[in-house]
Amino acid sequence: MTHDHNGHDHPHEPVATAGEPPAAARVRALHELLVEKGVLERDDIRRRIDWLVSRTPADGARLVARAWVDPAFKRRLLEDARVAALEVGLDPGPSPVVVALENTQSVHHMVVCTLCSCYPKALLGPPPDWYKSLPYRSRAVSDPRGVLREFGVELDDRVEVRVVDSTANIRYLVVPRRPEGTESLGEDDLAAIVTRDSMIGVALPVAPA
């Protein structure tokens, strides 16, 4: 990230290793214990993190774009997102089950995890910070339209909003509506307009100008 001072002068806190959050020491101790007891190999956690941060919303976008151009694939995606992901060569990751939810003319889904930050990481990568924030988590289930407005999404009153709270084993991926004006686009160009936020259900894909 760039940091433009615009020529002005102001003090910055020095970069320090002291004062790390107490949880960091606890995590290190836990890691050591798990390795010592043979539950984990020393590099397992790093490998898992490397895998996780290598996932991006581009993976989910490929599924959505394919679903837009291929109705039979869309049916398979809505039936079993894991099988559909494997079909296009994506790695749906370990255990959690992913359910794809289709947005239509009359129904708009948006996803939240009020208890923590459950998210379809295998297909979208790590969640954005706002997804984990208390305001989003608490307001999404009490005033979804207000939250959507703040994201710039104004839905017709006839559209029912379904806020899906991923409270347990299932991870949810929204299949947004294909915008008008994209009839001539191929699958790759379509995938490029499917944003992370549109697959969480807080944004709508926009046709390229």
Partner: protein, 84 residues
């Protein structure tokens, strides 16, 4: 217990100490079964090193919002009661 989609249910308000996956804002609320996800190990014992057995049925349940919109959440069978 196996509940068919469309069944009206109420989320239990019983007190529970410790880890569970039923959010407080839904306790006592009446909802409707939308989907049956299948059986999963119980997080309430898994969280403490247990095996999570017996597996519990997990349901997607919908709850009405005053705006006419809905909240859908996954709720385990042992947190659902028959609605009067």
């Amino acid at each position: 217990m196996s509940l068919a989609p469309g069944t009206t249910v109420r989320v239990s308000t019983r007190p529970h100490e410790g880890h569970h996956r039923t959010p407080g804002y839904l306790k006592g609320r009446q909802g409707r079964v939308e989907r049956v996800h299948g059986r999963y190990r119980d997080p309430e014992t898994r969280a403490y090193g247990g095996d999570g057995l017996p597996e519990r049925e997990l349901y997607l349940v919908s709850f009405d919002l005053p705006s006419g919109d809905r909240v859908l959440a996954d709720v385990f069978e042992h947190w659902l009661e028959a609605a009067e």
